[in-house]
């Protein structure tokens, strides 16, 4: 209620003030003329009190009204004084529309008696010159901003200050806008220093300016055109010149043609493209923003710097850094991680009294751990296709022939078929099983033609590589038996007999050998062995027989171990000798070098290469396998493959190194122990068999120059043997002269694999 009451009071004041101002208009003006000092004083009073200022405002406003009144009074005066002229004006007013300029009236001058033109008086009306407008305040035509900071706006004609009309404060302004409905259409007039309501024309101009129209309401943008020079009846009929039409008006222009032809030529030659071909570059290019990895501008964090020592870490810190007893107790009570500091300041009087830093190891360890667990090395990740790192191997199809299917199988009755051997002419196979049955059969038909029953476990069987004689050796428990195949030509048969059972025995050596060479009494029968060797007792099963390429010597390995494990027998001299006095480890296999008088001995871990002629060790090869199961030497004699029970195959280049050139491991190779290895005598092939029941065939090309590495390509995995009791394919042998493979399995079958 209070503000409302105040408003009301204020209103009343205004209402009271305004009539009083009306009444006091002229006296105020009169009073003003009295003294300037008072006026100043009054002005000061006016400044002090708003109430007193109101009459001033009203006076100013009244002066305007007065001005208007005066102007009307002037008009009245004017009309009074110039009645005659007014009549003329009235006469002329009818002609005002027709004549722009005022008509001069010719009168006879009273003085001269001459006629003179008299123009009508110029009405200082609204549309007359604004300079003639009488100012509402008679301060003159001055820039009003001079008085912006002053309470008056200038001086009137009498030299009195014309005070600015009092302006209400913001509240009054607001009330004014609320009370007066025309307040929003009024504007502040600087000349009069009041708010003046805008006329309808002005509002219309404002509206037109807001709508971007022409501010003149009478402007008509669509006036009909006034045809001054054209149109009907105004045509130019006559030519301007009598000159005849020039020729160039009606012949084609030579220069234009030349210009056009220049462009045409340029188009033909392609210098100008008539229409630019729409390429993809002209079309907007789209690309996946997120496809590319953002540039790895990620800078790795720098390693945190170790803290610099502070005053409290000094060996002799000031006393205030030293912890009190309570602090020390509290420090010791808190856990190590929770401590604010990981040390207690200690004071030593001299540096030499400082003990060793007891936290040194822990601190170093902590820092190393920090560096290790938050590595700050930026690792470059290489984008390499892993397939491109695989060496390019030729396709197996280009390396034909190699065995790829099981052509036929030969079944033993029972027992594991441990060993097989193929005659040097490649026609006959001898296979022997654990039951002591030795079978002779054709390679290509698989028909058994002869069978020997030994009633002894057979460990090895091997044909003599000679072609002029034909026999094979069967190794059993502490015995070696020499058998002759049937259907031999008489010459071969007699040669074999004379070799194995010579009519006059060669002289016995000086040192009697423990191996006895015994001829069977019935020399003619094929059933019994033609010759038998009795190895020394407790030498065990002869598990390996290796022939020298010339067919005179052969070496055997017995499973008994010890000194009598390895024997080298000479058939022609009927003599056996143990080449090694002492053998480290149990011998697994022996081999003769195909070309040189060298001898390979594979023990459990190592392969030793001996020179038999010079009786010395040449090489010690370490394949790195835990237990060597088999080995074979390449026909060139420079390469050796060694297989182990730990599923590893090592390829040795004997010229190159004592270390394996290549190792095949079980990830890509046999999944169980390797049982047998064999190089093909003529084709670049080797095969390996394993307890996983599979045979793997490899292409192994060896180059004669020392620069090119051997090429080893896996060709084929042959599966067909069953695994019995953890034993798979026990031996593989190649058929000479054909890329065929013969394999024996623990499932008592022998298979022939053809290409």
């Amino acid at each position: 209620m209070a503000p409302l009451a105040a408003n009301r009071k204020r209103k009343q004041n205004v209402e009271e003030a305004s009539p009083s101002s009306d009444t006091e208009t002229f006296p105020a003006g009169g009073l003003d003329l009295l003294s300037e000092d008072e006026d100043e004083q009054e002005n000061g009073i006016v400044q002090e009190s708003d109430v007193d200022a109101f009459p001033e405002i009203d006076a100013a406003s009244d002066t305007e009204e007065e001005g208007e009144g005066e102007s009307s009074g002037d008009d009245a005066k004017f009309s009074e004084t110039e009645d005659e002229e007014e009549e003329d004006d009235e006469d002329a007013s009818s002609d005002d529309d027709l004549h722009v300029f005022p008509k001069a009236k010719t009168v006879i001058s009273d003085i001269t008696g001459q006629p003179k033109k008299i123009y009508p008086e110029i009405e200082p009306d609204y549309d007359s010159d604004s300079s003639t407008e009488d100012a509402p305040t008679r301060v003159g035509n001055i820039p009003l901003h001079w008085y912006d900071d002053l309470p008056h706006v200038g001086y009137d004609i009498d030299g009195k200050k014309v005070l600015k009309p009092a302006r209400g404060d913001e509240l009054d302004k607001f009330l004014h806008t609320v009370d007066d409905p025309s307040a929003w259409t009024s504007a502040f007039d600087k000349n009069t220093q009041t708010d003046r309501p805008l006329t309808a024309e002005e509002l219309d101009i404002i509206r037109r300016l807001e709508t971007l129209e022409n501010p003149d309401a009478n402007y008509d943008p669509y006036q009909p055109t006034v045809e001054w020079f054209t149109g009907a009846g105004k045509e130019e009929v006559m030519p301007l010149s009598a000159a005849p039409e020039p020729k160039r008006r009606w012949i084609p222009s030579k220069w234009e043609r030349q210009k056009v032809m220049k462009i045409v030529r340029a188009i033909r030659q392609g210098r100008i493209l008539p229409s630019k071909p729409k390429t993809t570059s002209s079309q907007p290019q789209f690309y996946a923003v997120w496809n590319d990895e953002p540039p790895s501008s990620h800078v790795p964090l720098p390693a945190p710097k170790p803290h610099l020592p502070t005053h409290s870490e000094s060996y002799n810190p000031p006393e205030e850094y030293l912890p009190t007893a309570e602090e020390r107790k509290e420090w010791e009570a808190t856990d190590k991680e929770d401590r604010e500091r990981d040390y207690l300041p200690q004071k030593y009087s001299a540096l030499r009294l400082v003990p060793a830093y007891d936290q040194f190891i822990q601190e170093r360890f902590g820092r190393q751990l920090d560096l290790y667990l938050a590595p700050r090395i930026q690792r470059k990740k290489l984008n390499i296709d892993p397939d491109s790192l695989i060496p390019k191997l030729p396709s197996p199809n280009t390396l034909r022939p190699f065995p790829n299917y099981k052509s036929l199988g030969f079944a033993h009755l029972r027992g594991r078929v441990r060993c097989v051997s193929i005659s040097p002419d490649g026609a006959w196979v001898v296979s022997a099983d654990d039951e002591g049955v030795v079978c002779l059969w054709e390679v290509i038909v698989g028909r058994e033609v002869k069978r020997w029953t030994l009633n002894q476990k057979v460990g090895a069987v091997e044909w003599c590589p000679r072609t002029d004689v034909s026999f094979f050796v069967v190794g059993t428990e502490e015995n070696l038996h020499f058998y002759v195949p049937p259907n031999l030509t008489p010459t071969v048969l007699s040669a074999t007999k004379t070799l194995l059972n010579p009519p006059n025995l060669p002289p016995a050596p000086e040192t009697p050998s423990p191996v006895k060479w015994v001829n069977s009494p019935s020399a003619s029968a094929l059933e019994a062995p033609l010759l038998s060797l009795d190895l020394p007792p407790s030498s065990g099963l002869a598990k390996n027989i290796a022939w020298h390429r010339k067919g005179d010597y052969f070496a055997t390995v017995s499973s008994g171990g010890g000194q009598g494990a390895v024997w080298i027998h000479q058939v022609s001299r009927r003599h056996s000798q143990a080449p090694f006095k002492k053998i480290k480890g149990s011998v697994q296999m022996v081999l003769f070098h195909p070309l040189k008088p060298h001898f390979f001995v594979a023990t459990q871990r190592y392969v030793r290469l001996y020179n038999l002629a010079e009786q010395k060790l040449l090489k010690l090869l370490n394949p790195g396998t835990r237990w060597i199961s088999s080995m074979d030497v390449h026909p060139s004699g420079d390469h050796l493959i060694v297989g182990g029970y730990d599923r590893k195959l090592c390829w040795f280049d004997l010229e190159l190194s004592d270390k394996p050139y290549k190792i095949l491991r079980h990830v890509v190779y046999h999944s169980r122990a390797i049982r047998s290895l064999h190089f093909h005598p003529s084709y670049p092939l080797f095969a390996s068999s394993s307890d996983d029941g599979s045979i793997q065939v490899f292409h192994a090309r060896v180059y004669s120059d020392l620069l090119t590495d051997p090429l080893i390509v896996p060709l084929k995995i042959l599966r067909g043997h069953d695994v019995r009791d953890g034993l798979g394919v026990l031996q593989v042998r190649w058929v000479p002269k054909q890329p065929w493979l013969v394999s024996t399995g623990a499932d008592s079958t022998v298979a022939v694999w053809c290409h």
Binding site: Y405, S407, L408, D425, P490, W740
Partner: protein, 494 residues
Amino acid sequence: MAASSSTAAPPSIPVVFSTKTMYQLPSQRFMVPASWRRFQLSQLINTALALPRVVPFDFLIRGVLLRGSLSEAANSEEETLEIEYIESVLPPSRLATLPHEEWVSSITCSVPGHFLTGSYDGTLRVFDRAQALLHTAPLHAAPVTSFAITPSLPATSDDDLLVVTASHDRTAQISRVSLDGAHSTTSTPLATLHLHDTPIADVASTRDGKYILTAGWDGLIGLWSTSIPEADEVPLDAVAGPERKKRRKVQDGGSVKTKAPSAVLRSHTARVSAVKSPSSGGDAVSCGFDSTIRTWDVERGLCAHTITVSEKPFLALALPTAETTALAASADRSVTLFDLRVGATTAAAVKFPHAATPAALVFAQSSGTQFASGAYDGVVRVWDVRSATREVANARVWEGQKVLALDWAGETLGVAGEGGVEIWRAGVGVEGGLQKETSSAGDESTVRPPPTQQHCLCGFCPTLFVHLLDFLFRGDVRRQACSLTLSNNLSSHP
């Protein structure tokens, strides 16, 4: 069926039939539904020719045997298909089993009324058609690998045969087998042929009966005349060991003469696995493990021609009648047809892939295009030379036992191998059919006139011929009804 055809209306293909058999159709274009298969086409031919009994046919489109429907074989529906039809081969059916205890390495069915088998126990056995064992001749101590019968016998009787047996004991033997009767069949060894140092793989005789060819494992081919020498041409001591000499003396009474070859054909570098003599001329063809096929001029003893291929050790050989081609089986599971006139023939060779090692090959006597192959998996496959992708028919003779020899005479297919001997019936067309009749007729032209003036053949259906003509020449309006009617008349063929 009729409803479906009337609603679907399958597209038709214009076809023209041709044949080299005696079953000739008039040359005319037929519109045949594209969905037709061999069976429908065979029915069409049978119906069109009105054959008294059903003859199943196979169809060759551009030299390839039709296996699926016509739409698969045809390029487009507009193009006229030229279809050649041949009498189809029935799958062989088992006739009889000749019991053997040993593996049988060779068999012949060409002796009328008898079967001769050579076995791995070294004996030659003679059976008659009633599967009765007539005679067992223990000619060799080692397995008999092959035997051959010389066509012309210098002996007197017609029932006498001159049989040459080859064995693992490195010799071949000429024996006379007299087929007089059930109880009087005898065999008499006449001469032993001594050349080879190794077992003999194959023996053959030329068709004119002048020469015998033996192929040995040592790469030699021995050429022998069929004459029996008066005295030993090879000294007996050089030939055999003392024990064998003793045995033969005991057995034969010293009447067996040794015989030396008249020529030795040396070109093979490895085992000669088979030698054959073509039906015409006195030449010979051999193949071996050295991947060569050699043609021999027997009279001069020269190698006339050599075909060398890479890495194909040949195991068996077969020659068609009067052809310049040779069929050879190799250990890489393929049978290859070679043109003997061309040298290195990789382009001209047609390969017939097998699932196992083929070890025996024989051509059908009656046709030059069909042959049988026996493999180590115990399956006998019948092939057509014109269809190399798949066999025409097959028969599983044994389960996992090897087939080692085949002979095919007429419709009798003798299969010898690991399981003994089996006699199967296999052949072209219908058993005892028209082919035999016309061939027996001799002068009668083999080309039967086209059935232009036919009366109704089935007897009980007077309107059938009308249907037939409609069916043949007008198209498919009443085809289904007609074929239904016909199917009463025709026995269905699988």
